[in-house]
């Protein structure tokens, strides 16, 4: 401890020296540079060629995905006709992999009605490698770029139009399962349409493109890329807008409203009635029975 203090003391003597500023600057650059090399995305350091990426993806695929999807991504059928342990991945495209693996839905923890969103099992580099491998199996939708699902580049007026148009598209195509608020809804046999709150634009766009699980596929002929972008813009906007009306009660509609009417409303008022009835007029301190 004393040694440390002495060192600090000696250093401190130079803190106003002519070269101190330069030394601190260099030290800062050194630290940030080395941190960057440690934590930077894979592409920045090792610009792996496409073939290498596909090879890496295949290895990962064989280890983590092939049990259900087959060694070549051809799918594994069950004994029952028409059912599969895992579907064929030929032609699902990089977008499907980026969505399923990037949100932690794949690999599934256990087979079931729903692949829930959970902790992501792979890092960005591995997801990219898996996507590249699956994309190599057959042509399919690619991972969208930032400009596809963002309205950043538009003027204020265009953004406004995009949002209200997106709202109408959302109400027509999405609310039947995901609910008017994007809070999610029930699907048959224990499945569900998940909540859309806090879901990144990229994943919503990919889900629209690839139609994961129970979700239908909204191809570009069905919903144009701009329309998909507008839906995402609308969802972002209702999450950014303050809730004017107070607590949303889960945004689930009349069921939760009814529950609050009974629990808070009737519960509170019956409590008030009990209170009023138990405080009666009296001249003595002790309670009289009337």
């Amino acid at each position: 401890m004393r040694v440390l203090n002495r060192t600090a003391g000696r250093l401190s003597r130079h803190r106003r020296g002519p070269l101190a500023g330069l030394a601190v600057l260099l030290l800062g650059l050194l630290i940030s540079g080395s941190l960057y090399t440690v934590f930077a995305p894979a592409q920045a350091t090792s610009q792996a060629s496409e073939t290498e990426q596909v090879a890496q993806g295949k290895e990962l695929f064989l280890a983590s995905c092939a049990f259900c999807h087959g060694k070549n991504g051809e799918g594994v059928p069950t004994v029952r006709d028409g059912y599969q342990i895992g579907p064929s991945l030929v032609g699902v495209g990089a977008a499907a992999v980026d969505f399923q693996v990037g949100t932690g839905r794949m690999p599934m923890a256990s087979p079931g009605a729903q692949a829930p969103r959970k902790k992501v099992a792979f890092n960005d580099e591995e997801v990219a490698a898996l996507a590249a491998y699956v994309a190599s199996l057959g042509p399919g939708p690619a991972i969208p770029s930032q400009s596809d699902y963002s309205i950043e580049g538009l003027s204020e007026e265009e953004r406004q139009e995009a949002i209200s148009r997106g709202g109408q598209i959302f109400l027509t195509n999405c609310t039947a399962c995901h609910n008017f608020n994007g809070a999610g809804g029930a699907m048959p046999r224990g499945g569900y349409a998940p909540t859309l709150h806090g879901v990144e634009g990229k994943y919503i766009y990919e889900a629209l493109l690839t139609g994961p699980q129970n979700m239908p596929n909204f191809s570009n002929g069905n919903l144009s890329p701009e329309e998909k972008r507008d839906v995402i813009a609308y969802l972002d906007s209702i999450q950014d807008t303050p809730e004017y009306a107070g607590f949303t009660l889960g945004g689930l509609g009349p069921v939760s409203e009814g529950m609050f009417a009974w629990l808070v409303g009737i519960g509170g008022l019956v409590g008030a009635a009990v209170w009023i009835a138990s405080h009666t007029t009296r001249s003595k301190k002790s309670k009289v029975n009337a």
Partner: protein
Amino acid sequence: MSVDTSKVATSNRTDAATASKPGPAGSLASWADDRLGLATAMKKNLRKVFPDHWSFMLGEIALWSFVVLLLTGVFLTLWFNPSMGHVTYEGSYDQLRGIGMSESMASTLHISFDVRGGLLMRQMHHWAAMIFIASMMVHLLRVAFTGAYRKPRELNWVIGCILLLLGTLEGFTGYSLPDDLLSGTGVRAADGFLKATPVAGTYMSFLLFGGEFPGESIIPRLYIVHVLLIPGILLALIAAHMLLLVYHKHTQWPGPGRTEQNVVGFPMLPVYAAKAGGFFFMVFGVIALMGGLLSINPVWKFGPYDPTKVTAGSQPDWYMGWPDGLLRIMPSHMESVIFGYTISWNVLIPILLVPPLMLTVLIVLPFLEGWITGDKRDHHLLQRPRNAPTRTAVMVALMTFYGLAWAAGGNDIIAIKLHASINQITYFMRGAIFIGPVIAFWITRRWCISLQRHDNEKLLHGYETGIITRSVEGQYAERHLPISGTSAYTLTARDRDEIYSVDGDTDAAGVAAPNSRSEKLRARLSSWMYQHNVQKPTRAELEEAHHHAEHEAELQSGLDHPVDGHQFDDHRLRDTDEVPLRDH
């Protein structure tokens, strides 16, 4: 007889005493009395006595929330435009600007975002409506469970049931007015229900909508029903309900000093005026808090109604939830085709048959009970639910049916919140809706009868002190002490049930007695209702038990005089109701 000298005049003046000049309030009162004759009317009513119990204030919640509904509703009419004319929204809510919608939707958005306090008023109006109907139901349950619907209050019960029906319709019409996606879905469903009526369905639908759904008339029509027709009838019936309440006088719980001929409680002025007035402000306060803090019916999220759209979580407001639940669990394939016309049993049964049937059952209950008991006396003393086990059990069975159907109406929300399968919930409900009420009936009735037995135990053997004594032989026993005279009176202030029986269906000459078939049914129902009930102990049984208890105490104490209970002073229950009889 001694004279109370404090009441005797203390002055010796010789001139006649004159009334001092009245204060401003007094002179105003005389002014009004001279012209309106208020004193005569008020003299009686200001002193009207009401008994004090929390459960007597449940109907008041409904009354006060109705007042809130009137106040907030008037505010909303100032800006609401009940028209299906098409406009483009240009108001403050960004996400809908530039979208085409009906004027009623646009004016609802205007009230929500551009009228000061408008959103608060809208939400208060909606919360008040939910509470209005909920409190009517809670009040109904109180009346049913305590037997307050017996003679002479059967007609007031009928009025109450009609109020519940009208409140529900009023709620539905109001919910439909904004013409948003959710309410439009509801109106579409209502159209479907109308059309499911055999033969007349299509005609009724065209009459209501002024042509094919949705047309342009439905919102203005619902509006006038919502703001004039139903509120008018509601007001009139509420007035009748309360006039009958005043005329019949309020029921009261039995107890010493309370009879079928009196009402024990506090007068209207000052006690009940203050209590009821204060309660109004509490109801208003709770509704205002809910309106201010809790979002309800966010129409801007739903957007304008468009028949091509629907949203998950499309449910009606809670009071329409149970027919919706029945509809959801009804097997969808139940249809038959007769002469080329489809009869949709899958809609007909859950919507057009069962709810009216339930309402009829509810209305008929007091008359049915009156017929079975043959009781023509007036009843102003309430029954504890346990003392009418079959009635209580029937109500609980009806509640169970209602509750299950209600839960089925939220099957999708239950599925996502409990991670269950919506199919499994539906299958479960299909069975539970039939089995559940039966189980509930059986459990409730046995429970009530056990409680009756417990009451008799208390009467005969006293209450359980929780004090365990050990006799010389080593035997352990719990010491019971007699309950107070007040408690004993209250517990025994009930009639013995009489099972009606038919002596014989033919007379001596072998001629069938008149109405023998219905009388036999009545006898069967009477024994079904009453044969398992436990009757209160007779005087002889009580005396025998008390004698026995004294004897027992004498033996157990090992003393030469009866135990008076003071040995256990440190352990005695402190409740004033439970003071032992033999305190000497």
